[in-house]
Each structure stands twice: as C-alpha cells, then as structure tokens.
Symmetry: C2
Subunit: 225 residues, 2 copies
C-alpha cells in the first residue's frame, strides 16, 4: 500500500520504518524537506538526526505534507497533537478526502509544565476534531496508548497486549486492524465510533504516571476478560 506518514519524530520514524520493512511504499511528510534534510541535531533524547536515520532507510521518501498525502492511499498522523490540525490542513483536505487517516497523536498540553494536561478531553477529542475538520476523510484513532517502539514491535513485551481502534467507518477500521496485525498485534479491540477516542486519549495521564512508577515506557495495557 502507498502510505504517507506525517511527522519526522520518533513516532513517525517508528511507523514509517516498520511499514517499509513490511513491504509498503512509504513517504514521510514534513513541512520543509530541504530543512529536514539539513538537520544535524539529535533530539536531545539520544535519537539520530533525520538525515542519519534516513540514510539507514533509503527506500523511504521524504516530501512535503501535501505531496506525501497526494501520492498515498492512507495517511498516518504522527505529529504532535497540538500541531495535528495545522499539519493535516497543510497536507490538504483534497488529498485526505475519501482516504483512511490514522490518528495516533495525543492532545498533550505542555504549556503548564509537567505532567502535561490534555487540551481537549471528556466531551470531545482530537480524533473527533480531525474527523469534523476533514469530514470526507475516514479517521481511525489507534496506537496512541503505547510507546512508539511497542506500537510496531508489540513482541517487545513478554506477552500479547491490547490496542484499540475508534472510528465511524467500518471498512477503514478493518484496513487499520489489518495493518496492526502486520505489526504483530493480536488483540485489537474496536471501541466504536470516533467519540470513543475520548477514552483512549484520556488514558494518557495514567500512562504517564505508570511510566514514572515503573521507570520505563516499555509496558502496555492488556485487557483481561
């Protein structure tokens, strides 16, 4: 499948790299490809600069948000939650129309210090904001409840865990569930329409406390029933 991954950070790289490894044609979208390719800085968390990462992933193309979305059948929003609506607008509503938009961002607000709060919650969600802003796209919220590496390599944990999908379009959720299965997820729970993204986005506060308590981001929720 031709897939655009919007965002050059850890999450975007993890998703893009894994999709490429699985045989998909992947284009990473960024605001200004020349600027991204000129970066020499790491991100302060030990991750390489984008060009250093790209050199190890020669099959993955870099393009503007708009060009990446235009050429793809499915678009992954792997940007910061606070930038997501702007980035998707740059990608172009006409390039998102009719397509599956996989939203894995979280509406984290760091402006009041740590731990972050949520800039939308409880009566609305980022997933719903994206669906309302791009009504012709088919938004599926997923993978926002675990660490980037575990999103695409769930076998990094000692047993199978759970991930969730939320969205209004059943075919879109089936497409996304198939990709999640390619990643190795064996327990994908369909929570219902896009309003159920409120639930998974509101998992972030306990996820952040768990990371602190356990001293690692390498954990996930398993829904035992």
């Amino acid at each position: 499948m031709n897939i655009a991954v919007l965002g050059t950070g850890m999450v975007g790289r993890a998703i893009a790299g894994r999709l490429g490894q699985l045989g998909h044609t992947v284009t990473i979208g960024t605001r200004d490809p020349d600027a991204t390719l000129a970066r020499t800085d790491s991100d302060g968390m030990g991750n390489p600069s984008y060009p250093a990462w790209a050199a190890e992933h020669p099959a993955i193309r870099l393009a503007t948000f708009s060009d990446a979305a235009a050429d793809s059948e499915l678009i992954v929003n792997a940007t910061n939650g606070s930038a997501s609506l702007d980035v998707l607008t740059l990608a172009g509503a006409e390039h998102l129309a009719g397509k599956v938009v996989v939203d894995i961002a979280n509406p984290l607000d760091f402006s009041h210090g740590m731990p972050p709060t949520l800039f939308v919650k409880d009566t609305d969600s980022l997933g719903e904001q994206i669906q309302r802003t791009f009504p012709l796209s088919r938004v599926v919220k997923t993978l926002n409840t675990l660490n980037a590496n575990l999103m695409v390599h769930p076998d990094g944990l000692p047993e199978a865990t759970s991930v969730f999908v939320s969205g209004n379009d059943e075919d879109a959720k089936a497409t996304v569930t198939a990709i999640l299965a390619e990643f190795g997820h064996t327990d994908v729970i369909d929570l219902g329409d896009i309003t159920s993204a409120r639930g998974t986005e509101m998992l972030l506060p306990v996820w952040l406390r768990l990371m602190g308590a356990l001293g690692t981001p390498t954990f996930n929720f398993k829904i035992v029933r």
Copy 2:
C-alpha cells in the same frame, strides 16, 4: 481491623461483605439507618434490597455515617462520586482525622446523558478534593478502575490483573496494599501521590467504552511490562 464502609450500594456491599468474610469488623454507614432498613425495593439491576442483603450478612452492622466512622480505624468511601464530599462531611472530619480514608469513588456526571462525563479531571481529581477537604485524613485512591465483584474477587478473571494506589502517606498506602492482597490482588502498582488519582479517574471513559465493546463488566487492565 475495625472498618467503616460508607455506602449501601453494590460497591459498598461487595467491599463490606468481603471484608467481613476475611475476619474484619465491618460497619456500613448510611444517611438514615431506619430508612435503609425499611427499604423493600431492589435497585432495578437485579440486586436485592438492603434488608435482604443484610439478612445474609448478620455480622455486618448498619449505622449512621458518623457513628460508623467514629468507631472505625479505616474508612472506605464507596458512595457515588457526586455525593462523596457531602457523605464524608456527614461522617465528620473529627472521625476521619488521622485515619486511612480509602476512596474508591469515581467523579461521574450523568447529568448530560450517557456516557457520563467527569465532573473533575486532568488538573484535579476527586481523590485530591477529598484530601484537601479533610487534610488530617490519609486518603488512598484505589479500586476505582474495575467492577465491584472483581475488586474483591480478582480471581474471577483467568489471570492476575493490576490495581493502583495513589496517596501522600506511605504507611496508609502500605495498609491499603495489605488489604488488597487479602482480596487476592497480586499486582498493586503505587502510582505516587494523590495527584496520580487524576490518571486512574480518567480511566473511566475507556472502561465504559470497553464494557460496551466487550458486552461485560468482567474485565480488567493488566499492565504488562
């Protein structure tokens, strides 16, 4: 241990019954014991009236909130979240002072229809409201993330799952963790101070969606790491 359980609903009964079975001396607190003992109605969810339940649990005493709290070493808040501060005020700050107050309520707001929203969240929590209102008590938030029956019989699931404690007092959390172990919980995760109750209270929206998606309240989160 002498324990007061405030609340005569399903959660209060589950906790009180199990504590009694484990050998604790339990008093259930209610607003008006005579009125509670005069009830003949079931709750519309197939649960017996309070007198019918009490007849099967003769060792468990019924008293006013105040009398129940006065005579106990540890108090469990098993009321509806919207009533919790009022009920604890009726119990009496002087009867809560110095004692462990186990808060298992959720700040659910049903006034806008289903699914309920949360009347406090993200930058504050019901657990914190209780701790601020009764600064001499030692509040521990726990057990608000699973069904009443599973709170006290976690072996009702096919494998061990996780529960959480949040609170400012380490000794109080140790006391509560010991009671959770008596119930059968083998993975009690200390999330930190009472502000971490924000995380577990914000789990409710996804819990409610999961109950809908799975068609049962008999499930729980296991933190796999």
